[in-house]
């Protein structure tokens, strides 16, 4: 079932660009259940890679392995050649940021404050200096605020800065999650179903936003169920089935592969997806 797939990418638009993320042989077991079974993936700068598969295929679990939320049972994940540190907050600092399938904003904080939390790992102020509030602290606080506002503008939420996150419309919450993730200055951005629950117009806007982020040089990995979305958006698509990599290729290749179609229509979804 799990055919090892090599990484020669014939139609890769990323040819010549540097590999930013290199996951090799990632296996994640929970007791007797193998949620992710020997998945390898390389992602280049400025590339959008799609991750598809039926429910329970292990997509989110794989994401969790990439972001340090889970430590893979076997296999390694390298970011710019460095093995990921085993602590989520350090993984973020290394340059990996994500959004969540079920939105996980800080509901009782404003949009701006949510984004400012994302700056935590990029600012130096120690607890003590922030009590004393020296000039250095004040400068850094100013810079954090300005950068957060800039990111809100970037995702099109500039006017919502003072709204409480939980009072924002659904589509805006998804964009706010992206802004918060960008605030950590990532090299790779992982989006877990960024358009789930969005109407066609919002989906369209989300697509433009993701293109804009890609054009700024970041690598983006997207989990999506909206196939039209994934096939317009991605440079490359990986399809996971029951934890294993079924096929990797250009959107056209993956789309027309009979096994992918079968996996979606005929596949059983007896496995549970992590998280």
């Amino acid at each position: 079932m799990s055919t090892a797939v090599s990484h020669e990418m014939p139609a890769a638009p990323a040819a010549g660009r540097e590999v930013v993320l290199d996951a090799s042989g990632v296996i994640m077991r929970f007791g007797g259940l193998t949620a992710v079974d020997n998945v390898s993936m390389k992602v280049h700068d400025g590339e959008i890679v799609g991750l598809i598969g039926p429910n329970g295929a292990g997509k989110t679990t794989f994401f969790n392995c990439l972001t340090g939320m889970y430590i893979p049972t076997e296999g390694t994940v390298r970011l710019r050649g460095e093995v990921l540190p085993p602590k989520p907050s350090k993984v973020v600092k290394a340059g990996m940021a994500r959004t969540f399938q079920n939105i996980r904003l800080f509901g009782n904080m404003t949009a701006l404050e949510n984004v400012m939390v994302g700056r935590y790992c990029r600012t130096s102020s120690m607890a003590l200096t922030s009590i004393i509030r020296g000039p250095k602290f004040r400068r850094e606080e100013e810079a954090t605020r300005a950068r957060a506002q800039e990111l809100l503008d970037y995702v099109g939420l500039g006017k919502s800065a003072e709204l409480l996150a939980r009072n924002m419309p659904y589509g805006d919450q998804r964009r706010l999650e992206i802004a918060r993730a960008l605030a950590t200055d990532p090299q790779v951005l992982l989006l877990d179903e960024p358009t789930a629950g969005m109407n066609p117009k919002e989906t369209e806007e989300a697509m433009h936003l993701i293109f804009k982020i890609r054009d700024s040089g970041l690598a983006v990995i997207v989990i999506e169920h909206d196939m039209r979305f994934i096939f317009t958006l991605c440079d490359r698509v990986l399809c996971l089935v029951r934890g294993a990599l079924l096929i990797e290729g250009s959107p056209q290749e993956v789309q027309s592969d009979p096994r992918v179609i079968e996996a979606y229509i005929g596949g059983d979804e007896s496995q549970e997806e992590g998280e």
């Binding site: 400012m116 700056r119 607890a127 922030s130």
Partner: protein
């Protein structure tokens, strides 16, 4: 006039309760733990100040001694709070809720007995030094006796409350605290150092408890190894009264509790009954108004 005098007394003890209550509420807000040893952190603060004074300034009552003994109190309280977080609570972070609660009670006993046994002559109550400006003769305004320590205590509460507000709303660590209290896992995935943030919450509560310890010492001029027990219970009541997890609530709850106690002393059976009324109030709030005066987090596992 009697009424105003009692109101003033009530605001004084109420401010002390408020300073301690903030520590309960900050820690609860972030790790959902009722740290029953927090009353002892307050007691340690008072002893820290006393020790600083006895070692460095014995016999001095000048004002410049005050900030230094407050620093001494803070040093003692914060070290103890950080130690207990690191040694006792952190390993139990994912344990069933009852485990850290019982641990807290254990720590409380250890700290009380530790001070009783090892602090020189702490088996009976010790007298706390005076600082002229705070412990001098009361000021008479109209028919009211305004004690200087009352002014000191209320000022201390105001300064601490404003400082805390600024810290939480205007600093990176404060925002991280808010984020962790809402969703620690997500905060971690946004790069927040959750362990450090929790430690800071403990330290913050200890800072205010230390101030309260010094204030109480200057107000009553005595300290005892078990002074934290009743004060801790009252402050916990105040935190619940205001809505546990809610910082403004803790301050408001402390003041309300203090005033109710003082008025009850005057009109409802005297000083012996004051404690009874305080805990009757706690029970009424828990039964009819579990989210407290100002709401926020509901007490579901206290």
């Amino acid at each position: 006039m009697q009424f105003l005098q009692q109101l003033l007394n009530g605001l004084t003890i109420g401010s002390l309760y408020a300073l301690i209550a903030v520590g309960y509420t900050v820690v609860y807000g972030i790790v959902q733990l009722i740290n029953f040893a927090h009353g002892e952190v307050f007691m340690i603060g008072a002893f820290g100040a006393l020790a600083t004074w006895s070692l460095l300034f014995k016999g001095t009552t000048a004002i410049w001694v005050l900030p230094i003994i407050i620093l001494g109190a803070m040093l003692a309280s914060v070290s103890v709070a950080l130690l207990m977080e690191r040694i006792a609570y952190r390993p139990l972070r994912n344990a069933p809720r009852l485990a850290p609660l019982i641990t807290a009670i254990g720590i409380s006993v250890i700290l009380q007995e530790g001070v009783r046994l090892f602090y020189p002559e702490a088996k009976s109550s010790l007298s706390f030094p005076g600082i002229d400006i705070v412990t001098g003769p009361p000021i008479a305004i109209g028919g009211l006796d305004l004690r200087r320590s009352t002014i000191f205590i209320i000022l201390a509460l105001i300064v601490c409350a404003v400082g805390l507000w600024v810290f939480i709303n205007r600093t990176k660590q404060g925002r991280a605290m808010l984020a962790v209290s809402q969703d620690p896992d997500t905060a971690r995935l946004m790069g927040v150092n959750v362990d450090r943030t929790i430690a800071i919450a403990f330290a913050l509560g200890a800072l205010l408890a230390a101030v309260a310890g010094v204030a109480q010492g200057l107000h009553t001029r005595t300290v005892t190894f078990n002074m934290g027990f009743m004060a801790g219970l009252k402050a916990f009541t105040a935190a619940v009264l205001g809505g546990i997890g809610n910082i403004q609530g803790a301050v408001a709850g402390g003041l309300v509790l203090g005033v109710i106690e003082a008025l009850a002393t005057q009109y409802l059976g005297g000083a012996t009954w004051a404690n009874v009324w305080a805990f009757v109030l706690l029970i009424i709030v828990l039964v009819f108004w579990p989210q407290g005066l100002l709401g926020a987090k509901v007490v579901d596992r206290a």
